[in-house]
Symmetry: C2
Subunit: 563 residues, 2 copies
Amino acid sequence: MSNWKELGAAKRDSVNALIPKAWLLLTPLPPPAEQRDVTGKFIQQFLTPREIEITETDAVGIVKNTTTGTWKAREVAEAFCHRAALAHQMVHCLHEIFFAEAINDAQLLDEYYAQHGKPIGPLHGLPVSLKDQFHVRNVETTMGYIGWIGTFEGKKGTGKEKVFESEMVVELRNLGAVLYCKTSVPHTLMAGETINNIIGYTWNPKNRNLACGGSSGGEGALIGLKGSPVGFGTDIGGSIRIPAAFNGLYGIRPSSGRLPYEGMANSMDGQNSILSVVGPLATSVGALKLVMKGLLSQQPWLHDPLVSEIPWRDEKEQEILDIVKAGGGGQLVFAIMPDDGTVRPQPPVKRAIDIVVKLIEKLGHKTMEWKPPSHSRCNELVFKIWTMDGGEDVHAALGLAGEPMCAPVAASYGVKKEQCTASQISALNVLKRQYQKEYMEYWNRTASHTGTGRPVDAIIAPLAPFAAARPGMYDYYGMTTWVNLLDYSTTVLPVTFVDKNIDVVSPEYKPLSAIDEKIQKAYDPEVYDGAHVAVQVVGRRFQEERILAITEILGDALGKHVV
Amino acid sequence: MSNWKELGAAKRDSVNALIPKAWLLLTPLPPPAEQRDVTGKFIQQFLTPREIEITETDAVGIVKNTTTGTWKAREVAEAFCHRAALAHQMVHCLHEIFFAEAINDAQLLDEYYAQHGKPIGPLHGLPVSLKDQFHVRNVETTMGYIGWIGTFEGKKGTGKEKVFESEMVVELRNLGAVLYCKTSVPHTLMAGETINNIIGYTWNPKNRNLACGGSSGGEGALIGLKGSPVGFGTDIGGSIRIPAAFNGLYGIRPSSGRLPYEGMANSMDGQNSILSVVGPLATSVGALKLVMKGLLSQQPWLHDPLVSEIPWRDEKEQEILDIVKAGGGGQLVFAIMPDDGTVRPQPPVKRAIDIVVKLIEKLGHKTMEWKPPSHSRCNELVFKIWTMDGGEDVHAALGLAGEPMCAPVAASYGVKKEQCTASQISALNVLKRQYQKEYMEYWNRTASHTGTGRPVDAIIAPLAPFAAARPGMYDYYGMTTWVNLLDYSTTVLPVTFVDKNIDVVSPEYKPLSAIDEKIQKAYDPEVYDGAHVAVQVVGRRFQEERILAITEILGDALGKHVV
């Protein structure tokens, strides 16, 4: 069991070997000090103008072309496979490569179109990347665990290896999507950085001093490099929102039970006090809507016992559009939560919040304060729920190959603890429900202060104290985790970039807490310069349509409809 | 702590003392051997013709009169209070009496109507009874535990005692319902008979040799005696369906997250692998629809974190009506499950299934076989989930007063066991989800056999092996519990009555299993004669509107629209 290094290297090499020779980088990448940002012009130099045109079109634009026969699915697939191959060589964002299958699938779609004169579905020819929790035929799912290589979720001889497909994979294929790669994760999934003993560390392509985020970090980095127009991640504590934000993307953490998680690999599977949810990251809000609407048209509640029967509701989106139209462009009400009482965001994130507040006011919407039930109480509960099994599951998975736990995970799971009993878990569930009820009624009561008769339409809040984490320094998750306990539908709105000349440290800063002090000290304008900065837009449970509409309004006004 | 008997007697006496003297029975009830059935003519002798008219009108008929000013809410309330008082004296079905408050509330509703010329809401003046898990101001919630007397869920000095109201109570009041009594339960709620150390045993009013069912047994007995037109129970293993069936009522176990459970007392609160759900029992399907539609109009998802945002969907009901209309009255497809592979129903229940099958065919609908994934595998999981805490919660609650556990509960919880760990609970949750998925796909696959293009519309199955349990002989719960694991929307359809001349034992009967043999031996035509017999109609998750429409069609055809 001590050959984990060799097994990891062999797996890594076998995946890299699937990159066509023509797509290999011929010279090593310059170091970050010389080439901090590998997005945009840097990666474009390896692509043809046509490939750039295709890969820099958002998902809505792509399907507009592929569902009308204007673009061939095969050409689109090849362009994204090429760009994904480049992205992987730059930042290590892929776990599995199946370009050949993808190009073949795309060819079949083109043949279908030629024969029937119509697309196979609304996602006809759209390349979609998947976090390495999805099972896809012909390739493995390792989730970054060396012990999972050659197995099905760590078990051998199940008959499911390289055959079984997750429910959403089936649905994406039904809709005409082209699947071509699976993206990197931190082993255990319980970290905001992406690192494991197979692919190493996935870097932030916009600023290679920084983390790409996690746990859907490979998705963030890949889409950030436009190696994918839209991909799916999962979120139990921020794992969709963090990489979306760190890579300048839109993303949505839907409420649990909205999209199908059925048949995906997971950590601590069966822990059902706070459920991990699946959702998309993309370069436009339109892309998020496109894939969600498509998936819901498949009636996933007939194939996933945990999905609630809530079809896509155009009327919920329309409610927001009607309010804005009636108000001459304005009159939504936003609660602003600049910090969570324990940690304040670093200067760039503070500035992003300020930018959004000014934008909201400029558009004629309203802002108000948000003084909710204690977030630190909430986040204590989240951490207790995450560690109910005392680390049993993740230690067992790492133990399969005797491999070491990466540092970002070790902070929470390094030392095995006693497991919670059924009574203790029930007590946590009751505390969680009570907190949810309290928060919900706080939100309800805002109806009497907004002046619109409605409660607050959305909360604007930081989703991390930093633009992106510095490696090994993701020391506070509280800004994302409260959303998971409350099960709120929440999007990421990319806002701006770190500017070392504007985003400076105030020498008089007085920390809110010891952890706040640590977080503030981790900010360095020189290191962060150029990084993406985002905020989150928080809606109530199952309000995906409304919160996407609101996010699109804000993104359009920021000029970020397609980044 | 040894004075539990005195405390229980004092509580019992204090509740009985709230019955107005004019409503007390002057002579003791004749024994069951002389007066088996106390419903119908027997209870009517203590009521005026006007009281009989009011109390034998179903909820839909009542609100037709009370929301138009035809009947005064006060007169309706008084009639039901009187009849409930009689019912309680006959079968011990109440835990709390608040007739004076109810009559006062009804008076206020009449004044509102007089002043505004319109009802306060769709349930204006409708008496609604509540299982003793609902918190209602001015009265206690004991749930049958002596240790809960004078406390809030076993705790003193919470400030919530006799003040706090459950979410649904608030909503029912908003809708204009009149609350007047809380009904009996077996302590712990984990039994199909209703017995505790405060009120003793709640008997079946139709056949006093038999149990009224449980755990919403008081509801069943009270509505069975028409001391309430509609009431709410809860169901974690059959607790709505069993008392509905044993008392000849309609009832629905909605899927979890459809109706608000927020703020109710419970056993093993926080156990979230199989959730207890709340739902109505009534004398007509129309009554079930009336109260569900009313509650959903209150947007309970804004006040209960566990409710999914699924409003009442008329179009789902219409789908069923359209199918039937297009088929000239027929063409729904019913799967028939006469037994579950472990136990067969006793002769009266077998006959009820046969009656429904013939009816279905006569109406022009179709029937087909149902050979689903193993129910015994499912029911093993249910029992493991129910006892995950090893009995900790129920032993602690009974221990508060040092009172003994009743026999029907002791069968499952008598001996305290080791608690499950977090890992063990997660493993059970995974097995549960896998079973749900398997069952769901079995159901999906029926679409290729029905001939309608749709999968099976509903399953017809026994919900207990007997018409009603004989005291101390509820030896098999498997016929209700599978629905709870699958979280299916399920109604009860009252079908017929036991007839000792028809429902005879076959001497050649070959038992399916040891437990089947025990169940069959417990049947005695003489004992059972005259009892209600019902079946359950099982729909998929969140299909309440469809399954109610189907149940109404069958009930109307049986001539049981208002029993």
